[in-house]
């Protein structure tokens, strides 16, 4: 599938901001299965200085610096992306999960990085216990992962507004509700607790209007899901616990990291500004010829 993505983030400040620095993770990553045909970031007011690098994880990181006083700040990230991730292996044909955990523990593959607790996905016994019924000894890893993915999608209620990024995983477990990043952090914490590498994927998902309704502009959202490791032979698979599905051709990957904090789409440090109002609009549309 070919998609046209437009992601607009706008801040309005009550008072002028004298100096601002922002770190953006808004350019989709080029990957096997994801071709980035075009990607650009524009910002208003125009920055005095901007740099573009790859971060430790290999994601594109854009930094912009604005020294002129401003009361409005807007970033528009646009990209044309073709996605078609390879289908995952047959679940029953994947390695036993305990073998995968053992490989990760001993291994020197980059997967070992995603074994360790991080700020938003801390080591939490309750998270591992929640997942354990899906992981009897010897069960093929993907079968177990799909089971856990499905369980989170069905046992947790999607509800915006009850959690924020600072809501800890144990609170999400207790509430049994939350949004995509809550479920993602929960699943990551659970998998790491079992000794399986798991990473945080940031990006977008294709949405469809309800039957009989028009597609609303800007109504899409940033999305988050889990990258799970199947061992040295099969590598990584994308699992979306919010929707209980495997990532194939309806997700666009921007970046990955240990958790949200590594790759938040836009954050910054400002001088002045007073109170601020944030508005975000995302459009992900199938492009012509896709």
């Amino acid at each position: 599938m070919m998609y046209w993505v437009r992601h607009i983030t706008a801040y309005a400040y009550d008072q002028p901001v004298d100096l601002a620095a922002h770190l953006l993770h808004l350019k989709p990553r080029a990957l096997p299965g994801q071709r980035v045909i075009h990607a650009r970031i524009r910002c208003q007011p125009a920055p005095d200085h901007a740099t573009e690098t790859h971060d430790h994880f290999g994601n594109a990181a854009t930094r912009i610096f604005i020294a002129a006083p401003h009361q409005h700040f807007e970033v528009t990230a646009e990209a044309l992306v073709e996605v078609n991730f390879a289908p995952p292996p047959q679940p029953e044909a994947t390695l036993p999960w305990d073998v995968v955990a053992d490989q990760a523990q001993r291994g020197c593959d980059e997967a070992t990085e995603y074994l360790h607790a991080s700020a938003h996905a801390p080591a939490l016994a309750e998270a591992a216990e929640f997942a354990r019924p899906c992981f009897p000894p010897g069960r093929p890893v993907l079968a177990a992962l799909l089971h856990l993915n499905e369980r989170i999608a069905t046992e947790f209620r999607f509800q915006a507004g009850v959690t924020s990024i600072s809501t800890p995983v144990e609170e999400v477990l207790r509430l049994r509700r939350g949004v995509c990043q809550d479920f993602t952090h929960l699943m990551i914490a659970a998998l790491r607790g079992l000794g399986l590498p798991a990473r945080y994927m940031s990006g977008y998902i294709r949405t469809r209007p309800l039957p009989g309704q028009e597609r609303r502009r800007g109504a899409d959202q940033s999305h988050a899901w889990v990258g799970a490791w199947l061992g040295e032979r099969d590598g990584w698979v994308g699992l979306d616990p919010t929707n209980g599905i495997v990532v194939r051709d309806e997700h666009v990957v921007i970046a990955w990291g240990r958790d949200f904090a590594d790759i938040s789409p836009l954050r910054g440090v400002i001088l002045g500004g007073g109170a601020h109002h944030l508005s975000v609009s995302v459009d992900l549309e199938p492009a012509e010829g896709g």
């Binding site: 620095a21 690098t53 790859h54 971060d55 610096f65 949004v179 995509c180 910054g268 601020h276």
Partner: protein, 821 residues
């Protein structure tokens, strides 16, 4: 082993000269020297803590007996130190670059990926590691019974202790001159010159010397004093995060003259708080947003590179021999103490079976002091073996240490330092030997306080000429006669230091004047009125509460309130504490003599307040001690501070404070019926220290106009208003350098208005009545001076607002109803 005595009970040759000199002193003299060292350290050195600061009573003690080291032994250690620094630099270059060490299995990935000191912001995929990575390195070592020094801790992040070594050397030179002459230790200054030179070489080679700054968290940091002495020694500007800003991808210092570029930054701020843009959990106000990106793109040399702390991980020691073979193709010269990472197979069993003392440390936290293993710790270690490492402790070598009354052999930990330039690593010919007296932490960061020895590297018998690196050809420095770049923060602190010193002076004068009257047993009615007026002034100045105002002829509450105010927790004590803190913040602007003058006289004033009790006479003496302090500051400022720049802000603060106080006091004292104006006038003269001048001019006849002329309009009276305002005007004109400046004009207008005020009384038929009408006009004038103070703040210090973080919210949601089908 014993550092001083060999196995056969003979004094080792390199101790002989030193011991001869120390022994020649005799015990009473040695005691005196130890006291002298301690006193000097308290007054001007590392231990120096001003009254009122949090760390009171702590500090470092320098032993009068140094640790001598033969030239050949030092040369061996230097070679080992240099190799170790090269090795750690190569390890860091790999881990912050291609990470082949992990792929080859030479280092467990957990010690990197699970290591909080591995700063991902310092690494870019498919790019080389930051350069420079290590510029400064230290190792702390113990010497075992076999005579080998082995490394217990590597320091690669915030490398502390060089300032202590430098200060010890200076103090020892003063306290133990005979030992110096006898042992002839190698000097340290060439090392610091080399370091300064190598820092400058890191900057861009363009016209003018590169600007080097030392970044300190500020006066609350346990090593603040070291930052002050090091910045001075290597001619670096001492700055705090709030002084810096990134513009256009480069780093700048905010100064009174605008933004000045910084090329090289020696950071003593924890790496993960350095840049709030990179570290979302860091306090946005405590760092410099964008500084890492400036370093990443080569606009700034930042040392040691953020993330270099990774090399301090204690567990790394277990892998260094193999890493040294792999990376350098050499065997490790300076070994570590035997260390095992408990995540390695079988390591835990070795710890459980061991009989020797073992130091247990977190595997990835080089800052932790560690604790000696006991079986009770086993469950904690077995629960997460990968988080721990074990170091076998030898019986550390001992050297004679002077406890204050006797010499006793105590174990030592030796810390040596090295810096790199483009020719390689160079060790400081000296160091810091910590006395492990049972209370000192074994390993980890240099503590805030302790007992230490200076390390004397002895010159070769056949003195070889010392060959330093070729001096760098830097363009000649242009002579500057102005004040240079003063950070806005420093100017702000000097301004407030001036204000608080004056406020203290004023408080002491008011309290003393009140006490003088209270001490007279049977006061005259005039004195009762004066005490009432003084009490109003005390209340206005916030020195006493309303309940303490005299009522019904009783002054008991007033006397008690004054006694309370004089105590350290009272109003005067709080002023002293504020002054102590501000003095610390501007310490790099004061010479050692100036600092000692401030410090000693403030300490004396503090002590007098502490012991004054409630006796009126002793309270009076305590106030005199405060006045002496204020006089000492004024003397130092006028005699020792370079004209212009910083001194002007001290002057501005002082003069503005005094002018507002004069106005407030005259207003309060005159605010009574015209019939009692004479008593008020007498008090006005006393508070403005103008009694003698008045008497010599007008004899004893008190009349309103001459009194008010003297205290308000006479520009030659240094405690009068006109003098303050013209001093303010002059200082403002000098600071601004503009021909037309509204702040200077306003000061001029205030000066003319004060003159006009006195003239209006003179023109009035009834002087006393006219004088009694003054207070509202005086109060308006005080408001205008407040406006002037705001103007100064806005113009010169407004560059110091604080930053905050934004956008730490997550992605919101995908509504469940619109899922892909």
């Amino acid at each position: 082993m014993d550092e001083m005595v060999d196995g056969a009970g003979r004094i080792r040759p390199h101790w002989r000269n030193l011991l001869g000199a120390v022994g020649g002193l005799g015990k009473p003299q040695l005691e005196e020297r130890a006291r002298r060292l301690q006193r000097a350290a308290e007054e001007e050195g590392i231990a120096s803590i001003l009254p009122g600061t949090k760390a009171a009573g702590m500090g470092w003690r320098c032993d009068p007996v140094p640790l001598p080291m033969p030239a050949a032994e030092f040369a061996t250690l230097e070679a080992g130190l240099a190799q170790r620094a090269r090795l750690l630099e190569a390890v860091l270059a790999d881990l912050y670059g291609p990470q082949t060490l992990l792929r080859l299995g030479l280092l467990p990935p957990m010690l990197v990926y699970g290591n909080p000191q591995f700063l991902r912001a310092s690494r870019r995929a498919n790019a080389p590691a930051p350069n420079p990575l290590l510029q400064l390195y230290a190792a702390e070592m113990l010497r075992g019974p076999d005579g080998q020094w082995r490394v217990m801790s590597d320091r690669a992040g915030l490398v502390s202790g060089m300032g202590h070594a430098m200060e010890n050397r200076r103090l020892m030179g003063q306290a133990m001159p005979e030992a110096f002459r006898a042992a002839k230790p190698r000097g340290l200054s060439i090392f610091f010159e080399l370091w300064q030179d190598s820092l400058q070489r890191l900057g861009p080679q363009r016209a003018g010397a590169p600007a080097v700054a030392l970044l300190s968290p500020g006066t609350a940091d346990p090593h603040w004093f070291e930052h002050v002495v090091l910045s001075r020694e290597i001619s670096a500007a001492l700055v705090e995060p709030g002084d810096l800003t990134v513009r256009g991808g480069a780093l700048f210092l905010k100064t009174l003259q605008g933004l000045q570029p910084i090329d090289v930054l020696l950071s003593r701020v924890e790496a993960n708080t350095l840049d709030p843009l990179e570290f979302p959990e860091a306090d946005a106000a405590g760092g410099v947003p964008g500084v890492l990106d400036a370093a990443r793109h080569g606009a700034l040399a930042l040392v040691n590179a953020p993330g270099a702390d990774l090399a301090e991980s204690p567990a790394l020691a277990a892998f260094l021999p193999a890493l040294c073979e792999h990376l350098l193709g050499e065997s490790l010269l300076l070994e570590s103490l035997p260390t095992l990472w408990l995540g390695s197979p079988g390591a835990m069993a070795q710890v459980l079976a061991a009989g020797e003392p073992i130091l247990i440390r977190p595997a990835m936290d080089g800052a932790a002091p560690g604790e000696v293993y006991t079986p009770a710790m086993a469950p904690r270690l077995e629960a997460a073996p990968g988080a721990w490492c074990a170091t076998w402790l030898p019986t550390a070598s001992v050297a004679p240490c002077f406890s204050g009354t006797a010499l006793a052999p105590l174990p030592l930990a030796l810390r040596l330092f090295a810096v790199s330039d483009d020719t390689g690593w160079h060790a400081m010919p000296g160091g810091l030997a910590r006395v492990l007296d049972g209370t000192a932490p074994m390993a980890g960061r240099l503590p805030r306080s302790g007992w230490c020895k200076d390390v004397w590297v002895l010159a070769e018998e056949e003195a070889l000429p010392i060959i330093g690196p070729a001096a760098q050809q830097l363009p000649p420095i242009a002579i500057r006669r102005n004040s240079g770049a003063i950070p806005s923060r420093v100017a702000d602190n000097l301004y407030w230091l001036g204000r608080y010193v004056e406020r203290l002076d004023r408080a002491a004068r008011l309290i003393r004047a009140t006490l003088t009257r209270l001490r007279r047993g049977a006061p005259l009615p005039r004195e009762i009125a004066e005490v009432a007026a003084l009490a109003r002034c005390l209340r206005e100045a916030g020195l006493i509460d309303a309940e303490a105002l005299p009522g019904g002829g009783s002054t008991t509450a007033l006397a008690a309130a004054l006694a309370h105010a004089a105590r350290p927790e009272g109003a005067v004590g709080q002023l002293q504490a504020r002054i102590a803190n501000l003095t610390e913040t501007v310490r790099d602007r004061l010479t050692d003599d100036m600092h000692a003058t401030f410090n000693l006289s403030l300490r004396a004033a503090r002590a007098a307040g502490e012991t004054a009790g409630t006796g009126l006479e002793s309270l009076s003496r305590a106030m005199v001690a405060n006045l002496r302090f204020a006089t000492a500051v004024a003397g130092v400022a006028s005699e020792n501070m370079v004209r212009g720049g910083g001194r002007l802000f001290l002057e501005l603060g002082r003069r503005l404070e005094r002018s507002q106080a004069v106005l407030a006091e005259i207003g309060l004292v005159l605010d009574q019926p015209p019939a009692r104006i004479e008593a008020g006038l007498r008090l006005v003269l006393e508070l403005c220290d103008s009694v003698i001048t008045y008497r010599s001019r007008y004899l004893a006849v008190l009349q309103p106009t001459p009194v008010l002329d003297l205290v308000l309009a006479d520009p030659s009276n240094p405690r009068g208003l006109a003098f303050q305002i013209s001093a303010i005007q002059a200082a403002l004109a000098e600071v601004s350098g503009l021909t037309e400046d509204p702040l200077v004009d306003e000061a001029g207008a205030l000066s003319r208005d004060a003159e006009a005020l006195v003239q209006s009384i003179l023109a009035s038929p009834e002087q006393a009545v006219a004088a009694a009408m003054l207070p509202p006009q005086l109060s308006e004038m005080a408001d205008r001076l407040g406006g002037l103070s705001d103007g100064v703040t806005r113009r010169y210090f407004a560059m110091l607002p604080v930053a905050r973080s934004l956008g730490l919210d997550g992605p919101v949601a995908v509504p469940a109803e619109v899922l892909p089908t």
